[in-house]
Symmetry: C2
Subunit: 165 residues, 2 copies
Amino acid sequence: MEAEIRQRLDEFIRRKGLRRTTQREQIVSVVFSRDEHFTAEELFERVRKVDSETSRATVYRTLGLLVEADLLRQIDLGENQVTYDPNFLNKPSHNHLVCIDCGKVVEFEDDNVDIQTDSVSRSLGFKTVRQSIKIEANCEQLRLNGRCPNLIATRLTGKRLRKKR
Amino acid sequence: MEAEIRQRLDEFIRRKGLRRTTQREQIVSVVFSRDEHFTAEELFERVRKVDSETSRATVYRTLGLLVEADLLRQIDLGENQVTYDPNFLNKPSHNHLVCIDCGKVVEFEDDNVDIQTDSVSRSLGFKTVRQSIKIEANCEQLRLNGRCPNLIATRLTGKRLRKKR
DNA sequence: GTTATTGCAAATGATTTGCACAAGG
DNA sequence: CCTTGTGCAAATCATTTGCAATAAC
């Protein structure tokens, strides 16, 4: 994975007449070191642990680059900050289900859904380039058993639940 | 339509122990006087024409109320501001296709899509509460004939194309 | 050497909030 | 009256930008 990312990025950098810098290298390796979604601020903090000099501005600028190079995608999870998803290289057509009970985000790929949405596009006279689906849903286990396995899993892994505000 | 909105809003206001104010009445009637999507700022300008005293803060606060009452929905069209959609009362399960060529937004409802996404939810152990789908697509007519009827229609009706930035 | 890139701090822009006054019930 | 709502201006918060210094190529 790493290799393909480097390659794509180098290609992008060459094509655009940009430069390979230490900061970009570091940011990219932090971005793709995990498959979790993140915000710019969260990335900034992670990057700072690797290099305490890197500025917030450079993080934002590099994020813009990665999105432009289509290595990273912005997704809308209903927060006030933009969320970034590093998993589109592995799962080019995945979408997101957000648990209303615990905030957990589940990624899914489903060909039938894609077929249906493509069909909608076509019938409207368009050709789908990309789509984003967000399903907000309740956990059935919680409703039936009063316990949400996702909630528990989420607590255990320490993943962030819903945003404060 | 108007009647049902008033009724729902009154019910919401009563239930929450809120008050009916001139500003709220005016804002609501402006919001539902058209079926176009709008931003808070655009609404503010429209409201100002009716009552030049109304503040931006009240517009924002009322928007929050309407969303909470589920009379209005926030949608993500990839702009930097939140977009509001007043059409969910008429079309409870509609979604959006955005033309990459001209920025036109087309609303669509499709039962098959809903069936597929519900099925995805179920298979993951969830129960869908709501979903939002954004299809980004190219206009086939533009590709085939070099002309985009939507683009033309959009120009004629003077609707806003893509955001500046 | 050029030209792109960085870090910093200041600017921006949308949205929110504290507060004194006004208005609904 | 008593409490909620409003307008105003200031505050927030994420993100962007101008600029002088720094680093790619």
